[in-house]
């Protein structure tokens, strides 16, 4: 793992009081390898390492730790800072209901996350209405209804309406019935499918959500930057959710997506059960990525 690799690297360059260009380049190669193996995007890893390198050059190595530990310490701090710089609380509406819209690629975990978010909010005393504007996926409506039933949450019923109609109807229902929150699930879509991207923008414009969450699979590889950038451009989303982090993927997509969008990671999904949700902890994610 990284600490051992860096210890070995620095062992070969003995007797240095300061971190300089020469002794750090080998160490940076090791860190870069670790980041790439963790699925951090190539360009993001390059920029990140460059930035951290400039911060660590000329730094006096603390007496109590080795140069290797010093480098790791700096990287860890910088990574935690980058991952969780801004406060990541869920947006609230001054006039209920708070409208939360969820979007992302196919199979990333959006529908399951909507139910999880609803349960999470109910534990905080907030009553939410679940709705799905997914008119494409076979049995999408059934899926959300089954999940809704399991947490005693009502799902806005729809039949033959279009995606935008459903969204508007759900917000209307939430307003009339005095819900605190309405959570709108959308169909999975490719960022390069212009019709589907137009649709999700149309939904956004129709209901003006307070919060738009980009739900991304925690195992996503190099492509994370492409979909994240495209969704940001069209939707200007306000938060990120990373799912399936109960697996053993390192989750470098967290750094990639955060770096190219600047939006905060608000939640992580850590299991299939409806209570498997957690607030994002940047320090835990940093340790996971650096291994």
């Amino acid at each position: 793992e990284l600490t051992k690799k860096l210890e070995y690297t620095f062992q070969k360059l003995k007797g240095h009081g300061k971190i300089n260009e020469k002794n750090i380049s080998e160490a940076l190669r090791e860190v870069r390898r670790t980041l790439l193996e963790a699925d951090v995007n190539y360009k993001v890893a390059k920029d990140f390492i460059e930035a951290v390198k400039n911060k660590s050059l000329g730094k006096e190595v603390l007496r109590s730790i080795t140069p290797a530990q010093q480098v790791i310490k700096i990287f860890n701090e910088e990574l935690v800072d980058l991952l969780g710089g801004t406060v990541s609380r869920l947006k609230d509406s001054s006039v209920p209901p708070t409208k939360i819209m969820v979007a992302g690629l196919q199979g990333s975990g959006k529908t399951t996350f909507c139910a999880k978010l609803s349960l999470f909010l109910s534990k905080k005393g907030k009553k939410s209405l679940l709705a799905s504007s997914d008119i494409y996926r076979p049995a999408a409506k059934n899926q959300l209804e089954v999940l809704g039933n399991s947490i005693n949450t009502f799902v806005y019923p729809y039949d033959k309406e279009g995606a935008v109609e459903i969204a508007v109807g759900a917000v209307e229902e939430a307003k009339n019935r005095g819900y605190d929150v309405v959570i709108l699930d959308t169909a999975g879509r490719l960022h390069i499918n212009s019709e589907m991207m137009d649709e999700v923008v149309e939904i956004k414009n129709a209901i003006n959500p307070n919060e738009i969450l980009f739900v991304a699979d925690g195992m996503t590889g190099q492509d994370a930057v492409n979909s994240a950038k495209a969704f940001l451009e069209r939707l200007d989303f306000t938060g990120i959710v990373l799912t399936k982090l109960d697996g053993d993927a390192k989750g470098g997509a967290a750094l990639s997506i955060r770096a190219v969008t600047g939006r905060p990671i608000k939640f992580i999904s850590i299991g299939e059960k409806v209570d498997a949700i957690d607030i994002f902890h940047p320090d835990r994610m940093a340790s996971r990525i650096l291994g």
């Binding site: 899926q143 390069i192 053993d248």
Partner: protein, 280 residues
């Protein structure tokens, strides 16, 4: 990559970037870069097309090394049993719909087994797909033991003289020991009726997934043995380069690729097409 550039540091970085960003992994990238540097030492007359040619040639070599014999479906006695597995959300159920449609077009009778008894509306989802494909289905109530559904499905396939039986399973992370045990149990129970079953075990991988796909392939293969891979969502921008190390290290071939959400969006894997798309 622009044509006719010289083989300098910037050029090397560009190649490296393209390879890494295809999810082919750092090891394979370094292997290919070493190969390029070696060729450059021998012949300084290098330009873009030379480089691309070498990379494509090397990739083709890796993929050809894994030329496991095509599982000849005709050799197996009826019903031909296909078990479909993979982690959550990769496209198993959708792929089964596409496979059912393909076999129906070939004039075969197809039965689907709704052995995902866990996920919300999984059975309903597969039921809609089987109608689109024109296949039959064996399903049971939510929460039933998946192995017993698989067992009943195989019995039904035999008694109805079905050509192809395709078994859908719940998505599961390879890190969950009990869920991997469940797959082993499904396999054991199928063998009680038909020793060669499952005749084909397909692992469905999402092209968007990074290095974890290699781990998934290793773990699923260790647990129940994988005959072929279906690489889905290749209609997106992800390149799916991870199948190169999977082929190289595990010798598991990619059989199909998923190119969309319609019942016809399934194609046989073609390494030439794949390699060309990988490094464009």
């Amino acid at each position: 990559i622009s044509r006719g550039k010289k083989f300098n540091q910037e050029f090397i970085e560009n190649i490296e970037e393209i390879l890494i960003e295809s999810d082919i992994g750092i090891e394979t990238t370094m292997y290919l870069m070493d190969e390029l540097k070696e060729q450059y030492r021998k012949n300084k007359n290098f330009d873009t097309s030379t480089v691309l040619g070498i990379i494509k040639k090397k990739l083709k070599e890796i993929m050809m090394e894994c030329n496991t014999p095509e599982i000849s479906e005709r050799k197996q006695e009826k019903p031909y049993v296909i078990l479909v597995v993979g982690v959550n959300g990769t496209g198993k159920t959708t792929t089964i719909g596409k496979l059912a449609y393909k076999y129906k077009k070939e004039g075969k009778s197809v039965l689907l087994s709704a052995a995902d008894t866990f996920r919300a509306a999984a059975v309903e989802q597969l039921d809609i797909w089987r109608k689109r494909a024109g296949a039959d289905i064996v399903k049971t109530k939510y929460g039933a033991d998946p192995a017993s559904v698989a067992y009943d499905s195989l019995q039904a396939a035999i008694s109805r003289n079905i050509d192809v039986l395709i078994i859908d399973t719940a998505g599961r992370l390879h890190t969950k020991v009990n869920l991997m045990e469940e797959l082993k149990k499904i396999k054991r129970i199928l063998k009680k009726i038909k020793p060669s079953a499952p005749d084909e075990t397909l692992l469905v991988l999402d092209a968007v997934t990074g290095q974890n796909s290699l781990t998934q392939a290793k773990e699923f293969n260790d647990a129940i043995g994988i005959d072929g891979i279906v690489l889905t969502k290749l209609d997106g921008t992800a390149k799916g380069g991870i199948i190169v190390p999977i082929l190289k290290e595990l010798k598991i071939p990619v059989k199909y690729v998923g190119m969309g959400e319609k019942v016809t969006d399934l194609a046989l894997f073609d390494s030439e097409t794949f390699i060309n798309a990988l490094i464009c």
